[in-house]
Structure formats: C-alpha cells, structure tokens
C-alpha cells in the first residue's frame, strides 16, 4: 500500500514538472502582457489577434506553409511508404529485404541536423533552388520511414492467402491491392499518416537548412527567428496552446484506434 502511494506520488510529481511550462504558457495566453509572467487582466485579445492575422501576417503565412507542407508530405509519405511496406514485406530476396529495412532506418537513427545538412548538400550540389518543393521532398524523406514502420505490423497480421486467392480468381494486382490489401492495412496507414503529419509540422532542424532564400518560413523556423530577435511575439502563446490541444486530440485518436485494433486482434 505504502509502495503504491509513493509510486503514484512520484508519477504525479514528474507529470506536474513535465507539464508546468505548457500550463504556464496556456494560462498566460489569456492576458495581453508583452512579457510572459506579467498578468494584466483576463483577455481573449491574443487569440483574436492570432486569427485576424492583421498583426502578424508573417506568422499566419508560416502557419499556412506548415499546414500545407504537412498535409502534402504526409499524403505522399503514406502512399510511398505503404507501397514500399508491401514490397518489403513480400520480398523473397533476404538481402534486398535487409537493404530496404536498413535504408529505411537511416533517417530514423540520424539526428535531424545530419538529415538536414545532407539534404541541403544534395540540393546545392545538383543546383536546385530550394523552396516549397525541396522542403516538401525533405519532409517526405524523414516521414516515410515511420509510415513503413506503422504499416508493417498490419501486413504481418494479414492472411497472406487472400491476395493470392483474388489473383487466382482473375483480379488484377491493382484491383486486389484496392479490394484486399488496403482495407486490411488501413488502420496502419491512417496512424502512419497522422504520425507523418505530426512529424512534419514539428520539424525544425531539417527545415531550417532547406528553406532556401526566398523567405519561406514554417512555424518552427518562424519561432526560432522570432526568439533570436529577442522579444517573443505574444501571439505565440495562444498558438502554442492551440497546437498542444490539437496534438492531444490527434494522439487520443491514434491511441484509441490502436487500442481498438489490439482488442480486435486478441478477441
């Protein structure tokens, strides 16, 4: 009994410490003071400022860029990663399989700074101007491995004979993919998509090297540039609060989905 009490107390202590900064940001998003820590009365002004966008046009633009790049790269990573996972899973050649999985692990193991610099060197070497397209390509590069990893377990749970049966009955590979494989791995694909999206909107270190010089900014790089200028834009407080809540909801969905899938599997 005593042991349980101490264990719970420890958990809560660390949790409180872990969440204290986020809570402070959230609380002070409801006051207008420029400097965090000053309470100048309750107000929703920072929130309305954020959405009117008049005050912080560049911030709104950065949010837009982040969202677009996130959706586009998550979509492409999900398609590329799913097809690749099916390919890797069904490969007969052991060495090919090993090469694919090791290559797939590289972006996961590499610190972001290395991924960022190496891609930067790639683009300057082939003389491509960096911008929207190259940044999206970078994001696809580090998102796809996670899609592969989240689709793979679903493939392993699948009955391998159903696809063969469909082919025997005259289905084309594409038709069988659409009607047999995809329905069974859909949950893995959705989790992969959400994961890719969160990774993309979260990314800072890869983006900062591959923004190019045309003034393209994502949310992370905007925050970084802003904090280096000294004073932080107060509108970042409501923004962080919103981001945190969004991530919380997305994660709840993902976890709920995977919990449901696990239950189904054991049932």
């Amino acid at each position: 009994m005593m042991k349980k009490f101490f264990a719970q107390a420890y958990l809560w202590l660390i949790l409180i410490l872990l969440y204290a900064p986020i809570v402070i940001i959230a609380v002070f998003s409801f006051t207008e003071a420029k400097v965090l820590g000053n309470w100048t009365g309750f107000s929703f002004n920072l929130y309305t400022n954020l959405f009117e966008g008049g005050v912080n046009n560049s911030l709104m633009k950065a949010i837009g860029n982040t969202a677009i790049i996130g959706i586009v790269s998550a979509t492409f990573s999900t398609i590329l990663g799913t097809i690749a996972a099916i390919g890797i899973f069904n490969a007969q050649n052991k060495r090919y399989k090993m090469v694919m999985t090791s290559l797939n692990n590289i972006p996961i193991l590499n610190p972001d700074i290395i991924t960022g610099i190496s891609l930067f060197l790639l683009f300057v070497s082939i003389g491509v101007t960096q911008g929207y397209t190259t940044l999206t390509l970078c994001h696809i590069t580090f998102c796809t491995p996670y899609v592969v990893l989240s689709v793979m377990p679903r493939l392993q749970q699948m009955n391998p004979n159903t696809y063969e049966a469909a082919l025997d009955l005259g289905a084309t590979p594409f038709y069988a993919l659409r009607k047999i494989i995809i329905p069974q791995i859909k949950s893995g694909m959705i989790s992969g998509f959400i994961l890719a999206f969160t990774l993309s909107i979260d990314d800072f270190e890869v983006s900062v090297f591959n923004l190019g010089t045309n003034g393209l900014e994502t949310l992370s790089t905007f925050i970084y540039a802003d904090s280096r200028k000294g004073g932080l834009t107060p509108e970042l407080r409501p923004l962080s609060t919103i981001i945190f809540l969004t991530v919380l909801i997305l994660l709840l969905i993902v976890n709920y989905r995977s919990a449901k899938a696990n239950k189904k599997q054991t049932a």
Binding site: L18, I108, I113, I117, L251
Partner: protein
C-alpha cells in the same frame, strides 16, 4: 512492354523499387555527399585540410567534448528519472491507467521549440537564471519521454514468469530487480539512450534558447559553419557526428531499433 510491367507489378516484392530509388537519391546520396564535401576543398579537389583544420582548432574540439559531456549527463539523468517511471507505469500493481502512459508520451509530440520556450518561460517565472544548469534541466525536460517510452515498452512485454521463477527460488525483491528485471530491460534502456543521446549532442536551437546564446554546443558549431557557407568544414563536423552514430549503433548492436521506434506509435 505493358505486359512486362504488369507482370512486374504482380510481383509484390517489386513494389519496394520506387521507394528504393527514392531512398538512394534522398537518403544515401546525401550522406555520401557529406563524405565527399568533407574530403574536398572549395575547388572540389581531394584534400585532408578540412580535418587538419578541425584538429588544429582547439575551440571546436572543446565544444565537441563539452557537448559530449552535456549529452552524457543528460542521458544519465534521463535514465535515473525515467527508469522508475517506466517501471511504475508497466507494473499493473502500481499503476493501472493507460491514460497515464499517454500523458508521459504526449509532450514528445509538441514542437521542440514550443516546449523549450515554455521551459524558458517557466525558468523566468520562477526566477532560475539561464545557463548551464538550465541547459541540462531543459534537455532532460525535452528528452525524458524518449527515455521512458522504450523502457516502458520492453518492461511491458517482459515475460513475468521469469520474475515469478526468481521469487519462487527465494530471491529478495532487490535481487529480482538487479538480476532479472534490469538485465532483461537493457534493450529498452539502450534504445532510450540512442534516442536521448544523439539529439542532445546535435541540437542547436534548444541550447541557444536555454542559455541566451551563452553556451555553444556542437550542433550550433555545425549549423554556423554551414550557414556561413563553409560547407566543406561543416561536412567534416557532420561526418564526425555520423561516425559517433555508427559507433553507438555498433556498440549497442541495436537490431531492434526499428521495433522500438515503431513502439512510439
């Protein structure tokens, strides 16, 4: 032609080819380029001068060693704080709630810069001066979930009959832990170390924000060189990081990294 293509598409093993080509261009080739830049000069001729520059510049070596030290300390503190959490979370007698696990993992998905700024705000609020202590504290803050999760995953999957067997044989609780549970949880600890150590040694934004640019870590050095157009020298520093990754991967022989990374989902 179309027939051949269809037959190729019919072999599902071939479906990995587009991704293989993609990875060769966007994963392997860039890494090779880091090596190429490290061994060449501005004109593209082979040279070892970039390496000479690094070993002659005590400033950058010191930054490197200092970052290494900070990363080791951060990792150790993460293990000390994170292991008990993972242990409690995985133990059904001590903690039943799945939500609790999620609460610990959640901060991991919040933007690193937002989290760091929040930490800076907290320090400002409580009146802790920014500097070395704040840096380590902030790093632990940022990376603790990455240590908890892999350890938790391994402990959760552990076969409980080993523990029961040890208890039946009369091992004391302390002995059960040191001789059975801890050794069996080593793969999780190793994954955790990989996930905390590598980012802490290479990060630059976190250290800049947490120390008001007073303390420079190795990541900042790399970034400054690349940003100032010193690509060849920057590549040497990046290559050094790559070598450390190779060594850590090799030493820990983490064949199961993919599994633990998958466990993040």
């Amino acid at each position: 032609m179309k027939r051949n293509l269809l037959r190729l598409a019919g072999k599902r093993g071939a479906w990995g080819f587009p991704y293989l080509i993609f990875m060769l261009i966007f994963v392997l080739l860039p890494l090779i380029l880091v090596g190429v830049y490290a061994f060449t000069d501005h004109a593209g001729h082979f040279t070892l001068a970039n390496f000479g520059q690094f070993f002659n510049q005590s400033k950058d070596i010191n930054t490197f060693l200092y970052s290494l030290g900070i990363a080791i300390i951060t990792t150790l503190i993460c293990i000390l704080i994170g292991y008990p959490i993972a242990y409690i979370l995985s133990n059904a007698n001590l903690c039943k709630s799945e939500v609790m696990v999620m609460l610990f993992i959640l901060p991991m998905w919040v933007n690193v810069l937002v989290r760091t700024l929040a930490t800076v705000a907290l320090f400002g609020f409580v009146g802790i001066p920014l500097g070395e202590g704040a840096l380590i504290f902030g790093m632990v803050y940022n990376f603790l979930p990455f240590m908890i999760l892999p350890i938790y995953n391994v402990l959760k999957k552990m076969d409980k009959s080993y523990i029961e067997a040890a208890q039946d044989m009369g091992a004391s609780p302390a002995k059960v832990f040191t001789k059975v549970i801890f050794p069996l949880s080593m793969p999780g600890v190793i994954s955790g170390v990989m996930m905390v150590f590598m980012p802490t040694i290479s990060t630059f934004a976190i250290s800049e924000l947490l120390t008001m640019n007073k303390i420079k870590l190795f990541g900042t050095t790399i970034q400054e060189n690349i940003n100032n157009g010193l690509w060849n020298y920057g590549s040497v520093l990046a290559l050094l990081m790559l070598v450390i990754i190779l060594i850590t991967t090799w030493v820990t022989d983490s064949n199961d990294t993919s599994e633990s990374a998958g466990g993040l989902i």
